[in-house]
């Protein structure tokens, strides 16, 4: 991480001297930003760097650091990179400012789709969408005469055929590392089965028919996976694809470009994407929609906020997207969807569409409870009902401690 940051800082140094002219706006004071460290953020912060006077910090631990850093007065950063899952603490603590005035003045190039409105006020500007959807080895499916699966039952049937043919180590990959990843995989399937996580009165609602169906489906999936699936995160699944060890997985759209990275991948051009499979007929695709974007801190002087916003707009322009077209499913005008983006776009435009990740204080607690309690089901220690009862118990304890439940 440090190395990446250094490399980035070095890159800034290089471009700052030569490419300053590429930037239409130069902030009068130093602007600091904190965001995640994936490819899209490299592209955006790189574009900011061209304007000089920018200190961009890219850190995968941003979600832990951001709430406290923005709560400081003055805030330690001007610009925050957030996702719909991580904006909640900032909204709760009131540490980010409404952007309506700034958008009206400097946001002419933004499309209305990018403006994240919460109760009428623009609180963030989205730059890209992300979702987990099906990626598959088109050559293997073609060789074995398998249609691209559209439901999870079809995925499992295809996995069976691939298993028998023995062309890869494991037919399926899965982001099922215990903790956040496993819980997110549960969430995807759970919304696919029409479940709701929490009742309006904040009591838990996962120990339901949808919950049991979800766990049973996930258990059936694991039969076709690497038995070490409980330590397998997105990067691990990406590498399994790149090394030709798996044939299908429900993986993040932001990982698609890596499949065609000749430096890492042995399967360049062989992986294709399609919509996230349905869990049940007539349901929504078994996945959740995410967006990533920027927020501006509340605890900074107005002129700094203005400078930060104008700078942010510099990074989110057409030139940046044209130069980094494949780094993400951009919402910024000028984006040309490629073949690898088909799956994400098909997922997002499905009818009925999958829900956005339902971020809230309750959901944060539920996500943690799922991530901690579900592994016992997959190691075979407890039944699906027992695991879900344990999730509800863990959630209830945490919600009581957090003051959300009596």
């Amino acid at each position: 991480m440090m190395l990446k940051r250094l490399a980035l800082a070095g890159a800034f140094g290089l471009v700052a001297s030569t490419a300053m002219a590429d930037c239409a706006y130069e902030p009068p004071m130093e602007i600091r930003s904190l965001s995640a460290a994936f490819e899209a953020w490299n592209a955006v912060t790189g574009a900011w760097g061209e304007c000089g006077n920018v200190n961009a910090e890219l850190d995968q631990e941003f979600r832990t650091k951001q709430p406290s850093a923005f709560a400081a007065n003055p805030s330690l950063y001007h610009i925050g990179g957030v996702a719909n899952g991580t904006i909640t603490p900032l909204l709760n603590e009131g540490t980010i400012r409404p952007l309506d005035d700034l958008v009206a003045e400097y946001g002419q190039n933004l499309s209305p789709n990018q403006l994240i409105r919460i109760d009428g006020q623009i609180m963030a500007v989205a730059m890209m969408v992300n979702t987990q959807h099906l990626m598959y080895r088109s050559d293997i499916l073609e060789d074995l005469g398998i249609e691209v699966p559209t439901t999870w039952d079809e995925v499992l049937a295809a996995a069976e055929v691939i298993q028998e043919a023995g062309v890869v180590d494991y037919p399926l990959g899965g982001t099922m590392k215990s903790g956040w990843n496993l819980a997110q995989d549960f969430n995807n399937m759970f919304v696919g089965f029409g479940g709701t996580f929490v009742n309006p009165d904040s009591t838990p609602n996962v120990n339901s028919e949808a919950g049991v169906q979800t766990l049973e489906m996930m258990m059936r999936m694991t039969e076709y996976m690497d038995p070490e699936f409980l330590v397998s995160d997105s990067t691990y699944v990406q590498q399994q694809f790149q090394q030709g060890r798996i044939a299908m997985a429900n993986l993040w759209a932001s990982r698609a470009a890596a499949m065609n990275d000749a430096a890492e991948s042995q399967v360049v051009g062989l992986v294709q994407t399609s919509a996230a499979p349905l869990a049940m007929e007539g349901g929504v695709p078994a996945t959740t929609l995410w967006w990533d974007g920027i927020v501006i801190a509340a605890n900074i002087p107005d002129e700094e906020a203005e400078a930060a916003f104008r700078l942010a707009m510099e990074g989110l322009d057409e030139a940046m997207v044209t130069a980094n077209n494949d780094a993400a499913i951009w919402l910024v005008p000028g984006y040309q969807p490629t073949e690898m983006a088909e799956g994400a776009i098909a997922t997002a435009t499905a009818s009925p569409p999958p829900p956005s990740y339902p971020s809230s204080s309750q959901m944060g607690l539920m996500h943690t409870a799922l991530g901690n309690e579900l592994p016992a089901f997959f190691t075979g220690d407890v039944s699906a009902e027992e695991a879900l009862a344990a999730v509800e118990a863990a959630y209830t304890t945490a919600a009581q401690e957090a003051g959300l439940l009596e």
Binding site: T64, P89, T95, I118, K177, V231, G364, P375, T379, E401
Partner: protein, 341 residues
């Protein structure tokens, strides 16, 4: 020594210990009996989020903390007695499991599962660290003088490596198609998945900890071996004591204070086992007490942290260490009193 001089000498360190050890401990102790909650309200909001082409707007009822005029969250702190300890220990559920001899039900409670692993880890690595450390020390002590330097250097290497890095490198040797897994698979002629079940992960963690800490024991023992009384050894030889007898009746009794010292340090360190859990991503299968505290403190995406349970869990960890150390401390105290007379 005069009382005044004595106080002047120990004063600064007593002050620092009070400031950096006692004060935080007291504050953690107090917060384990308190719960601080934000005051929340239910708000109905319209939230608009982007799809690929158009936005979806939904009206949701969300919980938001109430902010005061300065923009800070209004919180209230309550004394809750042993509630947080109760939530960590879950005594009713644990007792039910114990009284029906249902081991796996007991292991479903995080604290007891963590305690089981932590105790096992501490008590299994202790004799191994002492044994391996002593063995290396004896080997080096008996090695020819010319090769001693290189041997000491190589034996110390594991101790120099940063714990997390060491754990990660061992993890990469054994995970998925790691190089050692491939070698083992070729040798045993079967498919191996070392990260798919608890016992293989536990074995790797035990191996790693012994590999990492044995050099520490070795250095101490090696220093101790230099002070063994040669006359006693020679007279033992004349009395017909073989190698084993000399080790048992001369060397080990001589090293006993060092063995106790290493045991004390090792018990304190390994009861706080944490790096291994993170390094080996073992949390699906095994967790430790220290990891449990860390997990309570780790904020989720919505920013929630379980401070109160984290405080209770770390107090329980401290109590556990103290209980483990009592026998050794009593022995040291007896020896100390014995020698001062």
């Amino acid at each position: 020594m005069k009382t005044r001089t004595f106080l002047a000498f120990v004063g600064p360190s007593v002050f620092l210990m009070l400031l950096f050890i006692a004060a935080p401990l007291v504050s953690v102790f107090i917060s384990s009996f308190q719960v601080t909650q934000p005051l929340v309200e239910q708000v109905t909001e319209e939230v608009c989020t982007p799809g690929f082409l158009t936005q979806t707007c939904t009206t949701e009822t969300v919980t938001r903390p109430i902010l005061d005029d300065d923009g800070n969250i209004v919180t209230q702190t309550e004394w809750v007695g042993f509630t947080s300890y109760d939530r960590v220990l879950e005594p009713a559920r644990a007792w039910e499991a114990i009284s029906s001899f249902d081991y796996s039900a007991l292991m479903q409670i995080d604290f007891w599962a963590a305690l089981r692993f932590t105790l096992m880890f501490t008590l299994v690595t202790l004799p191994l660290v002492i044994g391996v450390g002593l063995a290396i020390a004896l080997a080096v002590n008996n090695a020819a003088r010319s090769i001693r330097g290189p041997i000491i250097f190589v034996s110390l290497l594991p101790f120099i490596i940063t714990p997390v890095i060491g754990a990660l490198s061992i993890r990469w040797l054994f995970i998925g198609d790691g190089i050692l897994v491939l070698a083992l698979e070729a040798w045993l002629d079967r498919d191996l998945a070392l990260f798919a079940q608890a016992w293989t992960i536990e074995l790797m963690m035990l191996f790693y900890r012994v590999w990492h800490v044995a050099p520490f024991a070795f250095v101490i023992f090696y220093a101790g071996l230099q002070t063994v009384n040669q006359d006693t050894l020679e007279s033992a030889i004349i009395d017909g004591a073989n190698r084993w007898d000399r080790l048992r009746y001369v060397i080990v009794p001589h090293l006993m204070p060092l063995i106790i010292f290493i045991s004390l340090i090792h018990l304190m360190d390994s009861y706080r086992v944490f790096d291994e859990i993170v390094g080996f991503t073992a949390q699906a299968h095994v967790i430790s007490l220290q990891w449990l505290t860390f997990d309570f403190l780790q904020p989720d995406d919505a920013g929630n942290r379980a401070f109160s349970r984290a405080a209770a869990s770390s107090m329980l960890t401290m109590v556990g260490i103290v209980i483990l150390l009592i026998p050794l401390l009593r022995r040291t105290w007896r020896d100390h009193k014995g020698s001062s007379h």
